[in-house]
Symmetry: C2
Subunit: 421 residues, 2 copies
Amino acid sequence: MSTTLSDTPTLRAGAFGNATCLKCRECGATRELGPHYACYECFGPLEIGYEFGEVTREQIEAGPANIWRYKALLPVPDDIESSPNLEPGFTRLLDARNLAAELGLTRLWVKDDSTNPTNSFKDRVVACALSAAREFGSKVFACPSTGNLANAVAAAGARAGIRTVVFIPSNLETPKQVNSAIFTENLVAVDGTYDDVNKLASEIAGEDPGWAFVNVNVRPFYAEGSKTLGYEIAEQLGWRLPDQVVIPVASGSQLTKVHKAFRELVELGLVEDKPVRIFGAQAQGCNPVATAFKDGVDAIRPVKPDTIAKSLAIGNPADGIYVLDIARSTGGAVEEVDDDQIRDAIVLLARTEGIFTETAGGTTVAVLKKLTETGQLDPELETVVINTGHGLKTLDAVSGAVGPRATIAPTYDAFTAAGIA
Amino acid sequence: MSTTLSDTPTLRAGAFGNATCLKCRECGATRELGPHYACYECFGPLEIGYEFGEVTREQIEAGPANIWRYKALLPVPDDIESSPNLEPGFTRLLDARNLAAELGLTRLWVKDDSTNPTNSFKDRVVACALSAAREFGSKVFACPSTGNLANAVAAAGARAGIRTVVFIPSNLETPKQVNSAIFTENLVAVDGTYDDVNKLASEIAGEDPGWAFVNVNVRPFYAEGSKTLGYEIAEQLGWRLPDQVVIPVASGSQLTKVHKAFRELVELGLVEDKPVRIFGAQAQGCNPVATAFKDGVDAIRPVKPDTIAKSLAIGNPADGIYVLDIARSTGGAVEEVDDDQIRDAIVLLARTEGIFTETAGGTTVAVLKKLTETGQLDPELETVVINTGHGLKTLDAVSGAVGPRATIAPTYDAFTAAGIA
């Protein structure tokens, strides 16, 4: 067992680009870069610290049409593009005039991550985790997951040619199993709940340092990938920050990283500083952060999830307290919607903008609607809503809600009689 | 009934950019731009003629990361980006080292169109058809389809805010209906085969000139969208043509347009001229062009399709004779594979490159493999294979083929006992 891998991996120079250390988000203690996720001092969560130097718009714009255009702002080496990866990101930012009109907003954009390589934002974070796993010399690339993350890890691992193992609960529906099994021969079904699978993953990560679990022991590197959503929004707006952003909250990591991205861009002089109100979206069936926000408390009380928005169903979100901080300090909010509102919002987004989102995106659009109706969001300000995944992955949620308006005989007479013309 | 719409629509200046006429592919007769698809003289198929003037790499590179970077080469107005559309294209060209090694090829690229807005190359052609429909003042945007085209038309029409009607055979499986019905309230099920649906569409197009059927009366404009696949391949290779390209053949239009795109780039001085061998891929269950190629004849004998590659199942392909010409004149070939080879190739592409393709892409990769094994394709030459769509749309094809390798109890002991470490 190569414990040295875990404790002090021998890193090549520049293995993590401008990243310089791991820093505790609670006590601020720093330590060397490595496959660590908890602080030595206080067991708080670690995140990446950087010394950026100069980064210019021109450097970024000269880069490829994927997340590696921002490589100087990520914990990845300068030659990252030469290592096979899924090349995710630089997805569409669509001027959503129809949806804006429908909701009574002046200016609305949809950042659409459903067109990533495996059709969710997870390709961004997994690409960063893969780079870290390579630099650590990890032997196995792995994750516990029920959906989007499993797809992203299995696909990225296949393309990278690294041994990949994906753990899922054994009662997962066949289509969802196929979405990951297509990429890897090492899909492992575990008789238990997602929490059981997660616990097993942590145990393996603790015992076998050669295993890189993207969302466990390389989590600080993984999480940085979500910053690219924030960078892209700003660049695609013409190097400006929006006034308001609505972001789904599962662990809460994505919301905190978009916020971090905006702050970095300001500090680097790449965009002008301005107030950005940040809003979080949860499903009523898994609403621990929304509840804490509404109650005005700092502690997150874990819940047992029961919602169709399964990719948001984290009952005890690791970054929940940071989400609360950001929503409160920026003048945002964390709101919740029920399953019917989620379904309606999936149809609304499809019918207005031609985007088929999964239940997580339905949650986010439904929360956008609710925030507008309740006056928590200013309809006159420029707003961005993030769509994190694809409706083809949660087809069952809307199967009963839409269908043909008529069934006709194959004749012109039948067509005219049906009143469709 | 506004017959003037069909016959001589009043077009604004620059409505079709550098396009100047419709030209018969058989007799060369030209006529004015309009919603026409058959020659006045000989009933041959029409295509777009241009007078390009100067087009530079710099102009193109300064454009957006979607097909509109090539707007000067398409029948669209210069202000096309200001009209809401799905902004498709500029998809990944992946250096496929693992698949190349598996097949014994020196250099292989996968052009991956599964990450388009509705997950197939159809978003490219539909975007061009939508622009034409707008310029013609069409009242309805429509198509007959069983799959990818229906998705693309329904989504693009929703975002454009144009009345959209999509016709499908009534026996289509529910998930495929949902994929289109999510975008439009005007999904019309027709009691009949796809051929019946198609015939009804042609009848409506003939009776009601306000209807723009993307693949019927605006087909010449629609088809041009496939050229962007060729432009992107050349630009993403660093403004070079590849030596060999493998392209799926349904109607055959895509293959002829990629060829046309390469010729245009050469004529415009944007790439150096060189021989490019062009190969077509069909399924054994719908192989009329492959059969004609093998038999060395010029006529295509229609077949009744029976294959899992449903998006390639056109028994009487309109562009079949042009595909034969191009394959023969460039030193390419048209080959076929059976359903088992298609399934195996879907898994092969996923396991080597992390791309989940639909059955059409499985057909293309399987044909690439067969062409290599039979020596028809030169393994030393640089090759591009086109993946036109997403595996989530044809999940059933591989549901039986992949799955978990083990089911274990949620304990570290069970994990080690299973021999996965």
